[in-house]
Symmetry: C2
């Protein structure tokens, strides 16, 4: 089927003919020790991964996620039109240095921890334009690199509050294709895309991202639901990332039909680590949602264990500068709907 | 004509039916005092523009460029599907805070000073997908905010080298539409898009961006030329941004048919300031290429003074962290071809 798009509302599009060809998830030691440890395609043994810095290690993770995805699809870098990707580091350090290595044309993106669904959303629409044949959507983060950039020098050993999230050392990538790139037949497709708005409820605690981001998730879920006409029960799973324990509880208070919602809601940040791993609110970071979707949700869709998943990655759009200037923390959430589709449907 | 895309090569697309509806350029006092001072729609009187910080002033510039563009098109924010935009600040401070104000769904982008052509390129392909009806592509930068983030505290009063560029206090925005968003008839269209690769020639001087970025511009120009079959003489102007004096000279040494090229090449950074303004290599910053195209090149296309322009914004993808870790400076350049088209053509 030829790829196509229908505009349902401002920023909300129904998509057809855009296939997920492959996915790969890469993580660190702590991610490997968690309840989703078995879903990773590759685990790096330590925080430096053979490089000279945490930032270079993040670039290595970002590169490896793209490389593994292509290996699994038996494709080369030259078979991909464009990588759509981003990370949390200033000036997208890891995404840009990974792209220096893979040499695939790059459109760099930033929506903080919502970058992955921005990448998949743009990627699906680009493929539906009939332009690119194949794109890779990717995102990465690294705990140690994020800590020293956003919070305190690691050596300080400060005590984290109970609402604080733990930036995941992880990267996930998805290979998407229209029919000309080999996307055909039964499989997982991107079936709807919603671009988020910047929502700011006046939250000011940089150690509580879940509270800052939950209203943005609610806004995007509401716009998506209204334009697509879907009910929560149409989904096997509604996967947010990364609201964690605190943000997930708030989100359930902000959406209609809360019981229906709660029954099928899971959060990437909450799912990634075990309660014994002392991460408090849960995982976060641009790589968290990307790796959890690529390693955990996509394979279950592919195996037919789920038929429709709504993925809503959330991002807190603050910077250390905006925070130090006394600004509140705006947030954004981008949604992508994935469905198992048979040739005939 | 219905919008459409044809894949010419990996990352290179021919586009039809994507119209530029309006454009606006906003600048600071120094930009207003330069040779292009008359092309700005709005000039802010001082570096703070009534805000409390240079970063907040940049957000105000970014907002104003979007607002002015919509005012000129007699449209409201609610008439736009998505803003595609970015800036140089960590975590896209100005783009995100501007989007908090205009409340248009946002896909945040980062390609450093090449962000504007990334935005227009993605925007054109999104419109060609038949999804969004109208998008705004935008980019912003602020001299004082960039200085203290990338270089030294302003109070230091350090001496700039002769190869250093001057980050422009500027923002530019372009309103793009397919036929369903009112794009019709004679006018300026996006006719081709090339996504750049990350190119690193090993340059290590953060005070010489022109040298670091010229090879990326040459790579993108070469790929664009090869895939589209265009010659330099097919363009009234080939506009790079922001190589400045130094980078423009190097670029002319890297492209074939150098004389043909030089005859129609202009650089946004070189054009923005006068030789009496002591900016050394010329202007730079994500807002430089955006404002120079929106304020200077687009109106000449619109008035029929030019019929085809190739716009190649260039970005240096270093961060203070990558530089301090001894990394060389990778660069990227994204190309967009604009053509005057009559209904019949």
């Amino acid at each position: 089927m030829k790829a196509g798009v229908e505009r349902l509302d401002r920023g909300v599009y129904s998509v057809s003919g855009v296939h997920v060809l492959e996915a790969a998830a890469v993580g660190g030691a702590m991610e490997g020790a968690g309840p989703l440890g078995h879903v990773f395609d590759h685990l790096v043994p330590d925080d430096l991964d053979g490089t000279g810095s945490f930032e270079a290690a993040e670039a290595s993770l970002a590169f490896t996620a793209v490389r593994r995805t292509l290996d699994k699809a038996r494709l080369d870098a030259s078979d991909v039109d464009v990588v759509l990707g981003g990370d949390l580091l200033n000036q997208l350090y890891s995404t840009n240095f990974a792209a220096r290595q893979h040499q695939i044309p790059l459109y760099g993106l930033f929506s903080a921890c919502a970058t992955f669904t921005e990448a998949v959303g743009i990627g699906a629409l680009l493929l539906a334009s009939g332009g690119p044949a194949r794109v890779v959507a990717a995102a990465a983060s690294h705990h140690m690199a994020a800590e020293r950039q956003f919070r305190y020098p690691i050596e300080l050993g400060y005590q984290r509050t109970m609402t604080a999230s733990w930036t995941a050392t992880a990267s996930g990538a998805l290979l998407l294709a229209g029919s000309e790139g080999g996307g055909a037949g039964d499989g997982v497709e991107v079936t709807a895309v919603t671009a988020g708005r910047v929502i700011d409820f006046g939250s000011r605690d940089p150690m509580d991202m879940g509270t800052a981001m939950a209203p943005a998730a609610a806004d995007t879920l509401g716009r998506h639901q209204k334009a697509t006409g879907r009910r929560w029960s149409d989904y096997d799973q509604i996967l947010t990332g990364d609201l964690g324990v605190v943000g997930s509880r708030i989100l359930a208070d902000l959406v209609p039909d809360a019981t229906e919602f709660r029954n099928r809601h899971e959060d990437c940040g909450r799912a990634l680590y075990g309660s014994d791993q002392d991460v408090h609110n849960g995982g976060s970071g641009a790589g968290c949602a990307a790796a959890v979707f690529a390693g955990w949700a996509y394979p279950r869709l592919f195996r037919g264990e789920m038929t429709r998943v709504l993925m809503v990655a959330t991002g807190a759009l603050f910077s250390p500068t905006s925070y130090q200037q006394g600004e509140s923390i705006p947030a954004i959430a981008h949604a992508v709907e994935f469905s198992w589709r048979t040739e005939a449907s």
